[in-house]
């Protein structure tokens, strides 16, 4: 699924991350184009979550820049960071819904904080967002009353509350059964196509990558940086890099098997 336009919306420049003397990665540069689904992959411990935390401004890198529409958010002041945060949505691995609040209250929170809408309109927006993620009618439920997949979808609804330009996901379908994972993938694709939301997904699960990713960035633990970047299908078929090959081969043993097992 190539995208025609590739206007960069986020540019990562020469990013390095360290924990003490432990160098996680160095000199990482890539860009996220407007409207695309970019998947960052790599084995466990290669620094995907670290990269994501830096990109959403939760963690400072050792060096480097993250430019959002040309403004560096690493060196930005409070105001700019705040503005940036209203333009992004994040779905954490554990969904991170507030357990003491109903779903409606979870979604209403950013709307009440950042807009001047009255409660009737906020209620309608809540209903709309829940409808988008197939949870219509669940506004009075508490997170504890939902299944893992439903929590993920509710998390997406909350992340989309402010109609963000970019959505970030950490381990989108980790811990979910294949059917739910496929449903979630479909939801991501549909949302991306309908709303044009740019998506950055960090994952080590290859199952869905080929289906949903427009582009893939592959990190490697020993190389401490990016080893491949591009169209997932092309990488899988044409890459000569043994590390890339083994990554795809290890986790995608057989295309027929996948098609048979998970449909579509």
């Amino acid at each position: 699924m190539p995208l025609p336009e590739n206007k960069p919306i986020i540019v990562v420049e020469n990013l390095s991350a360290r924990f003490g003397s432990n160098i996680v990665f160095e000199g990482v540069s890539f860009q996220v184009n407007k409207g695309e689904i970019l998947v960052v992959v790599g084995e466990s411990g290669c620094g995907k979550s670290t990269l994501l935390k830096i990109m959403i401004g939760l963690q400072k890198p050792f060096s480097g820049k993250v430019l959002f529409r040309g403004t560096d958010i690493i060196s930005a002041g409070e105001d700019e960071i705040n503005n940036y945060r209203q333009n992004i949505g994040v779905l954490f691995q554990s969904s991170a819904l507030f357990s003491s609040m109903r779903l409606s209250e979870n979604i209403a929170l950013p709307l009440q904080e950042y807009t001047d809408l009255d409660s009737a309109m906020i209620n309608m927006i809540i209903k709309m967002k829940l409808g988008m993620v197939n949870l219509a009618g669940y506004e009075n439920h508490y997170p504890a009353e939902l299944s893992g997949g439903m929590k993920k979808r509710a998390g997406i609804a909350r992340a989309m509350a402010l109609d963000p330009t970019v959505l970030f996901f950490d381990e989108l379908s980790a811990g979910l059964d294949p059917v739910t994972a496929v449903e979630l993938d479909d939801l991501i694709i549909k949302t991306n196509e309908a709303l044009g939301t740019t998506m950055v997904i960090v994952t080590h699960e290859l199952e869905s990558i080929c289906k949903i990713a427009h582009r893939v960035v592959m990190l490697d633990k020993t190389a401490k940086g990016i080893i491949a970047e591009g169209d997932p299908q092309e990488l899988k078929e044409k890459s000569t890099d043994p590390r890339v090959r083994s990554f795809f081969l290890r986790q995608l043993p057989d295309a027929d098997y996948r098609d048979g097992a998970y449909g579509k």
Partner: protein, 381 residues
């Protein structure tokens, strides 16, 4: 990036009338931030006169988000209620995409669960009473489990995790030394000072040390120590176990075949029962010391007379009962702390609720137990 104030200038609405057909042309950016503004503008336009048909032209829209699209749908319903025909024309591809994911069914769908309305006073009263009864039953059940677990531990001493016991003894005991010492000294000082003010009028200064040591050893030492331990450790036990419940660690224990009460509660209870009596003696000592500051500086008693007077008042029976009392308080504090922790079901809020409850219930139980002690000891002597 748009900053807050720009948004009102980012859109333009123009209109054109043909007979009773209104054409509204939207140009620019329409989103959450200017939703109220443009909704009002359009509403004013369509309220001006009764139109038969209204067409909203999208061709000039450069940005539209789902909230803005929703607002337009709501305007459509608003107009529909007044029997006005409404149409969206020249939809851009983006707009079509957005409309495709807004399910009108979802917008009118009733929530599965009604938001719980508050009941009337009588029902609330009944609920509260039932809650109290259930709480009591829970506590009794837990006491049973705990006694059973303690019995098991005593008969199978090798099952006791010594490391845990030492850890909680340090937590509840050693770490509390500074604050217990300080508070006891201050209490001793206050009692000495207050009694001195009264007793000096009748020239009975010599009884100040007796009063201080009597009050400290028999009542205030055990009680103050217990209250401090409840605040420091009872709450910590509840929060610790509660968080483990939330993280499904308690479930994991169960599935691995451990009895959570024996594994989590017994070490805490036993450790507290061992360390709180020692802490109480320490508190008594500091109370007497605090009183002595007043005695020596204000009453012109020598250190020697003060101490002899203090010790003369206290019998071995007093000290032993004070230790027993302290051990009972410790069992109550640790027990209720653990029990409240196990009551947590889900979420951070529950942890907070039961941590508070652990402290309040512990203090309540301490006072109840203390009054029972006071009456029994009176008859025993």
């Amino acid at each position: 990036m748009h900053s807050e104030k720009d948004w009102s200038k980012l859109y333009k609405i123009s209109s054109e009338k043909k007979d009773s057909h209104l054409f509204v042309y939207l140009t620019g950016d329409f989103g959450l931030k200017n939703l109220n503004l443009f909704t009002n503008d359009i509403r004013k336009l369509i309220d001006k006169k009764k139109f038969q048909q209204i067409s909203i032209d999208f061709s000039g829209i450069s940005f539209l988000d789902s909230a803005a699209a929703l607002a337009l749908i709501q305007l459509k319903n608003y107009a529909g209620a007044k029997n006005t025909l409404w149409s969206f024309v020249n939809l851009t591809e983006e707009a079509k995409g957005i409309f495709s994911v807004i399910h009108e069914q979802a917008l009118i769908k009733r929530p599965f669960k009604p938001k719980t309305a508050s009941d009337n006073f009588l029902i609330q009263l009944g609920d509260a009473f039932l809650h109290l009864v259930r709480d009591f039953i829970n506590v009794v059940e837990f006491v049973g489990d705990l006694l059973f677990a303690i019995f098991y531990t005593i008969t199978h001493p090798q099952s006791l995790r010594m490391k845990d016991i030492l850890f909680y003894m340090k937590r509840a005991g050693v770490d509390g030394l500074p604050i217990v010492g300080l508070i006891s000294a201050l209490i001793g000082l206050i009692i000495a000072f207050m009694s001195f003010l009264q007793l000096k009028q009748v020239g009975a200064n010599i009884y100040v040390p007796s009063l201080v040591s009597f009050a400290m050893v028999k009542e205030l030492g055990p009680i103050m120590t217990a209250i401090l331990v409840a605040g420091r450790s009872g709450s910590a036990f509840a929060a610790e176990i509660g968080t483990m419940v939330v993280n499904e660690e308690v479930d994991a224990l169960k599935t691995m075949g451990f009895d959570p009460v024996r594994f989590l509660a017994v070490p805490k209870v036993l450790a507290s029962m061992m360390v709180v009596p020692i802490l109480t003696i320490y508190a008594d000592f500091f109370g007497v010391l605090g009183g002595m500051i007043v005695g020596v500086t204000g009453l012109d008693l020598t250190v020697n007379t003060y101490l002899t007077q203090s010790i003369k008042t206290i019998t071995v029976f007093d000290i032993v009962t004070s230790l027993i009392k302290a051990a009972v308080f410790a069992a109550l504090i640790a027990g209720i702390g653990c029990q409240r922790g196990f009551q947590v079901r889900s979420g951070a809020q529950d942890v907070g609720k039961y941590t508070t409850s652990a402290v309040v219930s512990a203090i309540f139980l301490i006072v109840v137990a203390d009054s029972i002690f006071a009456v029994t000891l009176y008859y025993i002597r």
